[in-house]
């Protein structure tokens, strides 16, 4: 690395060789060990220290800004609530609806599949049924 290259890099990146691009550091360290190199770095280092001074931000000021952000967020209207028919189409609402539909379908299928037996309507059969009921209600072991 030539003195001019070293000076140019110092003018760009400042007086701390460790903050220079990685590819230049090794050669720069060697040159920095010389009196000329050290003088260049010292000159740039003084400017670096001035440039590093930051505006003072008090905690109260930062907190006030944070509070104002939260206030602005609170002022934003809540998200639009969808209409009832739109809510019905969402999957959490579809689960009970699907269950009910399945139950109805099974019921209809059973009604169609099971044999229909019509009870006889003659007097003997009716009386027999009545006494059977009586026997179940009072005379049986149940």
């Amino acid at each position: 690395m030539t003195p001019d290259q070293f000076r140019e890099l110092a003018e760009t990146w400042g007086g701390d060789v460790e903050r220079w691009p990685a590819a230049t550091r090794e050669a720069a360290r060697r040159f920095a060990a010389s009196a000329e190199g050290a003088a260049v770095l010292a000159k740039q280092g003084r400017l670096d220290r001035l440039l590093a001074v930051a505006p003072e931000i008090e905690t109260a000021r930062a907190d006030r800004s944070s509070f104002l952000v939260l206030q602005r967020l609170a002022a934003v209207p809540p998200q639009h609530r969808p209409a009832w028919h739109q809510r019905l189409l969402r999957w959490p609402a579809l689960v009970p609806a699907a269950s009910l539909a399945c139950s109805v379908m099974v019921g209809v299928w059973l009604a169609g599949a099971m044999p229909y037996v019509q009870a006889p309507s003659d007097a003997f059969s009716v009386m027999s049924g009545v006494f059977d009921v009586y026997a179940i209600g009072y005379g049986s072991v149940q």
């Binding site: 140019e8 003018e11 760009t12 990146w13 400042g14 903050r19 691009p21 400017l47 670096d48 001035l50 440039l51 590093a52 001074v53 930051a54 505006p55 003072e56 931000i57 905690t59 000021r61 930062a62 907190d63 006030r64 800004s65 944070s66 104002l68 952000v69 939260l70 602005r72 967020l73």
Partner: protein
């Protein structure tokens, strides 16, 4: 940050407590107006909240992302300005222990602030990120959405312009 993406305000409050000073500091260094810096800091965090879902930690650190938002807002605002009097250059406090040294340092800082006022916003941004915030050249380039080479060029020009401005102020007593 993932909790902020899930719109959890408690996590967002913690994030602001940690990073709001950083946002205000960078904005103030560039716009040189505390009130405007406050506006920029607030707007930056409004954007963090609304765009949290788009943040990808694999692509960049949160601070790099925040710097980029702050810089974009700052450059947008200053682009709209047409005139910025040098007298508005803010004073930077010094923490030197001795009065005489402090006086000298104050004078130097005053000179520096006046010289900084003559730089472009992007040049002030480069100095703020690299020297004030201590970012590496690579990180600062990423925050400014520049290539490493472009950032090097910008920083070099910023320091050269700053030195020229200082010289001009010292020679003439004011920067024209």
């Amino acid at each position: 940050m993932s909790k902020v993406s899930a719109q959890r305000q408690h996590a967002f409050r913690i994030l602001m407590r940690r990073h709001m000073p950083r946002a205000l500091r960078v904005a103030e260094r560039i716009v040189r107006d505390p009130a405007e810096a406050d506006d920029i800091g607030q707007e930056a965090f409004m954007r963090v909240w609304t765009h949290a879902a788009s943040f990808d930690p694999k692509v960049a650190k949160f601070t790099t992302w925040l710097y980029r938002i702050v810089l974009n807002l700052t450059f947008d605002r200053t682009r709209r300005r047409t005139f910025q009097p040098l007298e508005e250059a803010g004073e930077v406090p010094d923490t030197g222990p001795h009065a005489v040294e402090r006086l000298i340092a104050d004078e130097e800082l005053s000179l520096l602030n006046r010289a900084m006022a003559g730089l472009s916003d992007r040049q002030r941004g480069a100095i703020a990120l690299f020297h004030m915030e201590g970012l590496s050249g690579e990180e600062a380039a990423k925050a400014m959405n520049l290539s490493a080479k472009a950032f090097e060029s910008l920083l070099g020009r910023a320091r050269a312009a700053l030195k020229a401005n200082v010289q001009k102020i010292q020679d003439t007593g004011s920067y024209a």
